[in-house]
């Protein structure tokens, strides 16, 4: 494994890039949702990162992370990272699913939930969890990416970000 050191290892994506357009359309983000941020494509790994617009690679210095990873693959703008969803998912207005507390408990722990296929038109969705906190208050929180597969909603939340309710 090596870290990129050259300036052209990362390329900024402008607003007309297919990744950005697809992301905005599929999830219904408002047009100003990412004002002040820039999406960057890391050419070697194909991942897309979101970073504050002031950020640039430093020539000659290996880069380990460029802000926050938005997607592991530029060809799959809908396959968003859990970190990205947890930070920006509340701004999405389409392709979102809200789970109840029990569903959230299953999903956040990395389990599958039975899901009728006619209610799952899209392959990936932003999953909003309903968490009943220890004080009884209810929170709706973007938890991670859900994937529909054979009548089930699969949790794509990485192991390190899973939790028990």
């Amino acid at each position: 494994m090596s870290l990129p050191t050259k300036l052209d290892a990362f390329q900024a994506l402008d607003d007309r890039h297919v990744f950005v357009i697809t992301l905005m359309e599929e999830y219904g983000f408002p047009s100003d949702a990412f004002a002040g941020w820039t999406f960057w494509h890391r050419c070697e790994s194909d991942a897309v990162w979101i970073a504050r617009s002031e950020m640039r690679p430093i020539p000659g210095i290996p880069t380990g992370a460029f802000g926050m990873m938005a997607s592991k693959n530029i060809a799959q703008p809908t396959r968003l990272s859990a970190s990205f969803i947890q930070r920006f998912g509340h701004l999405a207005s389409r392709s979102t699913i809200t789970l109840n507390h029990e569903g959230t408990r299953m999903f956040a722990a990395g389990n599958r939930i039975s899901w009728p296929s006619d209610e799952s038109p899209r392959h990936y969705s932003i999953v909003i969890g309903t968490i009943t906190a220890s004080n009884g208050e209810i929170y709706h929180v973007p938890v991670g990416r859900g994937r529909f597969e054979r009548g089930q909603l699969c949790s794509d939340v990485p192991k390190a970000q899973r939790f028990q309710l």
């Binding site: 870290l3 002040g36 941020w37 979101i50 970073a51 504050r52 002031e54 950020m55 640039r56 690679p57 430093i58 020539p59 000659g60 210095i61 290996p62 880069t63 380990g64 992370a65 460029f66 802000g67 926050m68 990873m69 990272s81 970190s83 947890q86 930070r87 956040a108 968490i131 906190a133 220890s134 004080n135 208050e137 929170y139 929180v141 938890v143 390190a160 970000q161 899973r162 939790f163 028990q164 309710l165």
Partner: protein, 338 residues
């Protein structure tokens, strides 16, 4: 005499209450958590913490942080996994507030892993601006990235480079402490590798081998890092130098190696409730520059915390002419600063 007491015996002349100090060093360290406003509102987190741990005490000198009773493990809470809160040693919370980082600034964290203070910087800057989070060790990059992503930080560029050879943002190398070939950083945090004697409450020092030998080598590393940090800072910019050790060689001794016309150690007013001791004026026959006393020593028995040392340095404007060095400092050939 215990192994730990033998290890710390050399500090007996500078500790005000030896028995209390030794007792504190062997007690479990209280955990602390702080609220992450990038992901959750202060009111929500305040209510959640109060419901989960009614005995949690608000830390008065932090924006919104709590000291937890022994045995509480916040790392398992959903709020932690979702990045609404973060755990950090209480005394280590101090370094970042002193820098007073502002939104839009350029800040360098030279030894960033595991990312606790980097995240604090991002929160202070409201995730606006640029933070360079540098870490040389491969194995520590993972925790650094994981913590920053979990906390929702988008303003940090993680780099892997030797801190003592770091460059400006344009990749150019400082040739002297003042030559600003690129753009200087507004603030730099240098939380250097050290002998970690102040962390005895959370780590077992018995596992450490030959602290004395390591100290001799790490001091040179620390001096190199602080000098490079100052060289990368714009005139008027601030550098926070921090360690978690009691050793004067790694604390006041490193500050003393800085040319007085390059930077001054800034006087800081401690907040009410935090007991600090000033930096030492001398140690084992060596007298330090006067402003080293502006640094803070935080002893475990004074605040029920770990041991910590922090100094805030202000980079001075370039003098109109450079006087010849008379104190043993020199500018090394080949552009390095020594």
């Amino acid at each position: 005499m215990s192994w730990l007491e033998k290890c710390l015996q050399r500090y007996k002349p500078i500790v005000d209450d030896w028995d209390a100090f030794m007792h504190a060093c062997q007690m479990p360290l209280p955990r602390a958590i702080w609220h992450n406003p990038l992901k959750a509102s202060a009111d929500d987190v305040r209510r959640l913490v109060a419901a989960r741990v009614p005995e949690a005490q608000i830390i008065p000198w932090q924006t919104l942080a709590w000291r937890l009773p022994p045995g509480v493990k916040p790392g398992l809470w959903p709020e932690y996994r979702l990045g609404w809160i973060h755990g950090q040693e209480e005394v280590a919370l101090w370094a970042v507030p002193l820098l007073n980082a502002q939104p839009g600034e350029r800040v360098l964290d030279l030894c960033a892993a595991p990312g606790n203070k980097t995240a604090q910087l991002a929160v202070a800057m409201q995730d606006e601006g640029l933070i360079i989070a540098n870490e040389r060790r491969w194995d520590r990059l993972v925790s650094l990235r994981h913590n920053l992503e979990r906390l929702g930080v988008t303003s940090a560029l993680i780099t892997r480079h030797d801190a003592a050879r770091f460059t400006w943002l344009d990749g150019t190398v400082p040739k002297t402490p003042f030559a600003l070939g690129g753009h200087g950083f507004d603030k730099v945090l240098v939380d250097v590798p050290c002998t970690c004697e102040g962390t005895t409450r959370k780590r077992n020092m018995h596992r450490r081998h030959s602290v004395d030998a390591y100290r001799k080598s790490v001091v040179q590393t620390q001096k190199g890092m602080l000098r490079r940090a100052l060289a990368l800072t714009r005139p008027g910019g601030l550098v926070a130098y921090a360690t978690c050790t009691f050793a004067p060689e790694e604390n006041e001794g490193v500050l003393n190696s800085i040319w007085p016309h390059v930077a001054e150690v800034v006087a800081m007013a401690p907040p009410a409730g935090l007991r600090i001791s000033p930096g030492l004026a001398a140690w084992e026959g060596q007298t330090y520059r006067d402003d080293v006393r502006n640094a803070w020593r935080i002893w475990p028995h004074h605040n029920n915390s770990g041991g910590f040392f922090i100094a805030l340095l202000r980079k001075l404007p370039e003098p109109s002419h450079m006087e010849p060095a008379t104190d043993g400092h020199s500018v090394a050939a080949g552009g390095g600063i020594s």
